[in-house]
Structures are given as structure tokens and as C-alpha cells.
Amino acid sequence: MDDKEIKEIAAINKITFAQRMREYKRKPLSLVMFILVVLAAALSVLALVFLIVYILVMGVPNLTPDLFAWEYNSDNVSCMPAIINTVVITLLTLVIAVPFGIGAAIYLSEYAKRGNKLVKVIRTMAETLSGIPSIVYGLFGMLCFVTAFSWGYSILAGAFTLAIMVLPTIMRTTEEALIAVPDSYREGSFGLGAGKLRTVVKTVLPSAMPGILAGVILAIGRIVGETAALIYTAGSTTGLVDGVMDSGRTLAIHMYMLANEGLHTNQAWGTAVVLLVLVLGINTLSSFIAKKLSSKK
């Protein structure tokens, strides 16, 4: 039998609209619940669509060349320096957080013994970290890096603060990616006489790479969108940073400053578009890689 014939079968067990309505007539409460469920879902989606479309409509006309001028001044409120600062702070954060995150994940998935008490503590702590709000990170960064280490408001202080903040994300996604690597790969490598380290570095890590990458990109999304953790660590100085010990605002901080001052509404809309597109683009890229990965398996 081919597809066409199957399609043409006049099945008697198809639930028709009339049947469903008859059902609901007897049980009106079910209809009410169904409508509520559909409405709620519609509302969730509409909230998103409305938010994004509204920002695009208000912001896109304001994406003028002035907004992307190399030099910031209080007339053009260019977001270009802030974008570059964001890139710098992102790179710096990753340089700090990625080795620690991946190292920790390798320890948890490859070296730690099952049921190890310490592993439990590490996981609990990572979970605790991921529940701490960014303003608390900001306070900590200010007290520790800015004040105690006397780095002052600086990109470096901001990057260290963010590094601790995104550490649990990188740890978790990397660990998941490592666990997903089949044991046969490890056994194969051991069978060829490779040691533990060689197996991990040459066999396990490369096959977990896409998963790790998805996690790192997710972390980038968080860094780019972060405000509260940076405002009292990296500071909100305008203009391009002059090195890691210099203070500088990222795009999200820039956005906050514009919104708070309320003087440059049009430019604020434009900046909102840039920020929104950037973060959503990064997140979409991350989930795209993650999905690619899971469909390959």
C-alpha cells in the first residue's frame, strides 16, 4: 500500500469538530480549561512578538550612521565604543571562565568517582552560583576586585565578576556534553594504549566540542546582556577602553544610561535594537549548534 492510498482511507476514528463540541457541551468546564490553556499560550507568544516587533519598529528607523560613529559624544551618543568594549570584556571573561569551566567539567565527568561527597558539594555550589542574582555578583565584584584588590572600576574587574557569574553555565553545558560522549570512545582510546589525559584531550574533548561551544555561546549571550553585575565593577565611563585597567561601559550599560537619563529616547530605541538583535542572535546560534548536535546522534 502506498502513501496515497493510506491518505485516502476514510477512517471512522477521526475526532470531528462536531464530536468534540458535543463532548464540551456535556462538560463545559473542560471547554473553559481548554480555552484558558490556548489563551495563555497565545498570550506568552504575543508578549514576545509584541515586545520584539515594537522595539524593531521604534528602533530601526533610528539606526543612523551617527549612532555607530567611532567617537562618542553627548550629541550622537554613539554605541560603537560600547560595542567594542563589550567585545573586549566578553573575550576577557571567556579567557578566564572557559578554562576553569571546562577543567571543572572534566574533573566531574572524567575523574571524580561516582557518589563522591565532594562532587555533590561542587554541584550544589555551582547550582547556588547560578541562582545568585547579578546585582549580588556586582556587589561582590565591587568589594573584591574593585576595592580589596584596588583595581578600581575596570574592564578587568568586570571580566572577573562576569567570569564567576557564567562559570556554572559553562560547567554544566560542558559536563553534559562530556557525559554524552559514548564510553566506547574512551575504551577505544585506552585500548590503543593511551593514558587518561591523552584520552580526555584527544578523544573525549573533540567529540564534545559542539556541546561545549553551544554552552560558551550561551555564556556570551549572558555577558552581552548583563548590566547589574557591571555597573559598579567595570563602571559606566563613556568611550573606548584604554587597556584592561581602564573603566568602560558595555552596550547593556550604555543602554541603561540612555534609558535612565531619558534625554536620547530615539537613540535609546536604536541601541535597544542593536542589543536585542545581538543577544537573540547569539542565543539562537547557541541553540542551533545544540540542536545540530542532538539531531546528529
Partner: protein, 249 residues
């Protein structure tokens, strides 16, 4: 009297032709057993009788299935059909709530709210399922704490609580130990005075012990349907004979 009649019924799962031109009538207040090797379509047929196959994606049925001469795929409300035709599943599936709430779930669904009435139904259903004495002191305890056999009898009680006319049993004893199985078989024999029972079983001995009629299925076709002793002592079809004598399956 015929309770269920199935005429020219075909069932497809996507491209797979799972039931081929089945014609069958089942008698009121009798136990009818469907037997046959795994994948022969007997469970599928059973689930078509209370429209549980509607949940399966790509499942298509043609033909005519009637309960008391009423088309169950036509104008009958599916929820009323399922109230009239109760089902006990292969694996006991009590809800994660108390014993009492499990039994009361069905009656509440059909609009019974009065505590005294519910109490009465809970007791009579548990008595009918021969499990009242074991459970009367733990009505408020979670049903998940019961043993496998108790859970399955609880599920039978739950099905009886909505006062069905037909009880479908989908290999209801296959996950149970012999003692629990014996209790449930005994129960079936007792229940058939009030209910029509249609059961799917892997266990030919079980069919022989309790079923009045037996239908033998093979590869989606109903090979033979007759009185149980007839099927087992004097099958008309060679395939039936081969199956019951254990040459395949």
C-alpha cells in the same frame, strides 16, 4: 445477546495494516478472550472498543463497531462510551493519590459530588473487586504503596466504580504472580454476572480456565472464533491447532 459487534473492521498504523477485515460479535455477560502471538493485533482490537486507539498517531480504522447496536465511532460521546466500556491495563496504573481518591475519581468525573454517595461507591467497588478487606483501613494512604496485585485489583475497582457495562482487560494479569492472577481470574468469573468481560491474554491456560468464548488472532487476522472448549478441544483451523498445541507463538 450480542453486546459488541464488529463488522468489516480494518486498522492501519501508518502504512502497517494491523487488523484485516475483522468480523466478530461478543455476548453479553460472558467472558470473551482474544489470544494469539505477540503483534497479532489482539490488544489493538481491544483498544478500538473504547476508542483508546484515538490517542495513537497515524492510527486509522475503517468498518463498523457497535455497542448495543449503537455506532461507537458515530454520534456516541467518546466519554460516555468509555464510561460504559471500562478498561484495565496490562500494567497497573493507579493514580498517584490515595486509594479513596483513585476509586472516587471516576464517579467524580461523572458528576457525583456527595460524600455519602462517594463513600458508598468506594466501598461497593472495592468489595466487588474483592479487595475491601485488605484496603478498608488504608483508604487515605497512597495507592502507589500497594503491592502489584493489589494495585491491579484497585484498578479493577476503579473501573467498576463508574458502573460500566463492559470491562476490557488488556493482559491484566501478565505482570502478576500466580496467586494474584488466581484472585483476579476468580474475580472475573464473579463479575461476569453483571458485566460483559473482554480480555486479551498471552496465557492460553487462562483463556481455557475462565473464558466462555475465545478468538484466535494471527498477523492481524482473526483466524477462528468459537466457544472456548471448542477452540481448545476441536479447532477447525490448522493454524489455531498449531498455536494451541504450542508449535509457534
Amino acid at each position: 445477546m450480542d453486546k459488541f459487534t464488529i463488522k468489516n473492521m480494518n486498522l492501519y498504523y501508518g502504512k502497517f495494516h494491523a487488523l484485516k477485515d475483522v468480523n466478530l460479535s461478543m455476548q453479553e455477560n460472558k467472558i470473551t478472550a482474544f489470544i494469539g502471538p505477540s503483534g497479532c493485533g489482539k490488544s489493538t482490537l481491544l483498544k478500538s472498543l473504547n476508542r483508546m486507539n484515538d490517542l495513537v498517531e497515524g492510527c486509522k480504522i475503517t468498518g463498523d463497531i457497535r455497542l448495543d447496536n449503537e455506532d461507537i465511532y458515530g454520534n456516541m460521546d467518546v466519554n460516555i462510551l468509555r464510561k460504559r466500556v471500562g478498561m484495565v491495563f496490562q500494567k497497573a496504573n493507579p493514580f498517584p493519590m490515595s486509594v479513596y481518591d483513585n476509586i472516587a475519581y471516576g464517579p467524580r468525573t461523572h458528576g457525583i459530588r456527595k460524600k455519602s454517595e462517594l463513600d458508598e461507591i468506594v466501598e461497593s467497588s472495592l468489595r466487588d473487586a474483592a479487595i475491601w478487606d485488605e484496603l478498608k483501613d488504608r483508604l487515605k494512604k497512597s495507592a502507589l504503596g500497594l503491592s502489584g496485585g493489589q494495585q491491579q485489583r484497585l484498578c479493577i475497582a476503579r473501573a467498576l466504580a463508574v458502573k460500566p457495562e463492559v470491562l476490557l482487560m488488556d493482559e491484566a494479569t501478565s505482570a502478576l504472580d500466580p496467586i494474584s492472577t488466581g484472585k483476579i481470574e476468580e474475580l472475573c468469573l464473579k463479575l461476569k454476572d453483571q458485566y460483559t468481560i473482554i480480555m486479551v491474554t498471552h496465557n492460553m491456560q487462562q483463556a481455557l480456565r475462565i473464558a466462555d468464548y475465545t478468538a484466535f488472532f494471527l498477523l492481524g487476522e482473526m483466524i477462528e472464533y468459537d466457544k472456548t472448549d471448542q477452540i481448545f478441544s476441536n479447532p477447525k483451523e490448522k493454524k489455531t491447532e498449531e498455536y494451541i498445541t504450542g508449535r509457534f507463538g
